[in-house]
Symmetry: C2
Amino acid sequence: MAEIPHTAPQEPTGGYPRVVIIGAGFGGLAAVQALAGAAADITVIDRHNYHLFQPLLYQVATAALSPADIAWPIRHILRRQKNTTVLLDAVSAIDRQAGVVTTEGGRTIAWDHLIIATGAHHSYFGRDDWEKNAPGIKTIADATSLRQKILLAFERAEAESREHERAALLTFVIVGGGQTGVEMAGAIAELARHSIAEDFRVIAPASARIILVEAGPRILHTLEEKLSANAMATLQKMGVEVMAGSRVEDVDADGVVIDGKHIAAKTVIWAAGAKASPAGVWLGAPADKTGRVIVDANLNVAGDARVFVIGDTAAFTPEGATRPLPGVAAVAKQMGVFAAKRIRAAVEQRKPPENFKYHDVGTVAAIGRNSAIVVLPGLKATGFIGWLLWSVSHIFFLIGLRNRASVMLNWAWNYVTWQRGARLITSDKPEDK
Amino acid sequence: MAEIPHTAPQEPTGGYPRVVIIGAGFGGLAAVQALAGAAADITVIDRHNYHLFQPLLYQVATAALSPADIAWPIRHILRRQKNTTVLLDAVSAIDRQAGVVTTEGGRTIAWDHLIIATGAHHSYFGRDDWEKNAPGIKTIADATSLRQKILLAFERAEAESREHERAALLTFVIVGGGQTGVEMAGAIAELARHSIAEDFRVIAPASARIILVEAGPRILHTLEEKLSANAMATLQKMGVEVMAGSRVEDVDADGVVIDGKHIAAKTVIWAAGAKASPAGVWLGAPADKTGRVIVDANLNVAGDARVFVIGDTAAFTPEGATRPLPGVAAVAKQMGVFAAKRIRAAVEQRKPPENFKYHDVGTVAAIGRNSAIVVLPGLKATGFIGWLLWSVSHIFFLIGLRNRASVMLNWAWNYVTWQRGARLITSDKPEDK
């Protein structure tokens, strides 16, 4: 069967092994692309019509980029891959026995091989009531609504005559000192201190207070201590108050309680925790405390060679390691390719690769303009050189020439003028004003 | 007083004559910019934080441009104009006797001179119940929600197995054969026939039916007959069915009734009528049947030299003309400058200009790529030359270098690849899926 040239089925035909891939993030997309040309009927299911370059989502939230700069229609990416059908839908249940996936749109889709790459959401560590006042940034809708919230805070402060209210409007608390939190804090500092500094008459946006709270002893804790310290010093130079070893005890509409002390803040941003999508529940498989499904050396669940879980949804602990691989793009992509290779080998009746192995490609985090921390195998860079490397690597990994050119243009313009091109409060709902 | 150099007031001080400008569209923005450096305390009130380049809004609705490409923060445009304060708010009432404006945000703002430039909304000719199923395009939120509706129609058609439902999803009806309707019809045809033609497996997007309905005898009726005929031929060549002299009698969730015949269509777009914002009601002044306030030769209301109404909100009939000037950007801008000059003359105790006179700068309408109709004083162009002139003129009038570069980049990319860069369905609400 593998030798028969494959033509596109108008509907899944059953003639070829059926592969279902749930989620078209970094992991799912890498998997489907690695299956290009395979003699299989592939269905990709995603709840959005776009693949999102999540690492730059904070730049949408801070008005530097437009959503379309970092998102790309999944259908369009896969248009030439004729063995693949794209479905805009979300999974509601998986029946492993029957080999079917059920969707919120009421579909039932049969599979012979299944890859679950549904990612993660924010986690509020049991305090889901905080979400309303401390939104996170995982989707484009999150980012544009956060952009609106940040821009409106300055607008409201300009119109506010009560001093304490104005101060609360000009206080921004970012919870979580990982990469997203650090990048958000730096970007808001740049926005307030430079981009919009001249634009108001009553308030001085540059006087805004930006606080980055981290429960652990240091920010960017996956990096070595020296680099954490460098990042902290850079943020402080930009006017960000970094509170490491501090615990957020409460969040409400008026602010946060940190280590017993209330800080009045109208904008609180959550960059602290992730919780995997409910793949463990769907599969009835064991998961760790953040909901990630525990997978074996071949990324399979409970020894079921038909079912793979990858990316942020999976807890894979390499041999000899003490904790699972982190939820980053590079891990997800490599997992996707590995799962695809095993499926392809099964379809083509060849010997599959064994035992997933992650090749570390490094860590990068930008801290405002001119400064980033880059740790690659055999290379460490900070400051301006780090920032150049960060910029080039991000542009390189964007999908599509247009997006690369558009992001480059926006960054160049931002670099020269300090301006941000997407300062739009787009909602027409009066309650958002 | 006029000789005293003006410094920026931290709060409106009352030391200078107070000018309030409501609305920062083409008219309002032209007025405030023409008052740069005047010895006046100027307040600009707008319900959005951005000035919008409305003529390209249809390109946002059809996924060619991002909102940030055609919008610019009002504050930023006016940041160096120190006599001006920008307020994000909407007017709820005007008291001419007391000389104050009241806002939805609960503010009361006093004025010595007032310019009302609040624009127009869609008009459904008394059938406001049609709005839900036949949305118009006046704001960014309108455009992104229409973009979502159009893209979702193709997604739903791909997943639909019932033939008649699929046909209804692939039928797009645009009501109104003016500039917006013609441009929308052309853009949707291009989207369906080229941009997304390859991306689906079940449906053939190129088979979509696109119908442009116009109640009058011909489309683009403000142009001479030959040009109308040229536009119609171009649209027909692109596969748009043009129904001139046809009346829409009903709109519901399943389609439209045109001349007694029901056409099943899941996407109906309203580009037919405009209704001025309620300035007439606010002022207690006479208005025409579309709500436009009737203004005198100096654009004043009922001889009140302090109050100007301009742009789409005003009905100004030049001497000897049979009908008021049309609601287009050029008219609004020239009216804004005229009103500003009169106010400036009053402030500086000079003789004001008399009798507004519109200098016709022409009409342009794009009909998909490679074709536009351009009528300038002393020049008529159609086809490719028209399209080049159309492109250059639109880029020229955009505010800001970044926006110009970004729009040029997107157009160039679209021209070469036929692709549209902003094909995003961004809502996370399940009911939108």
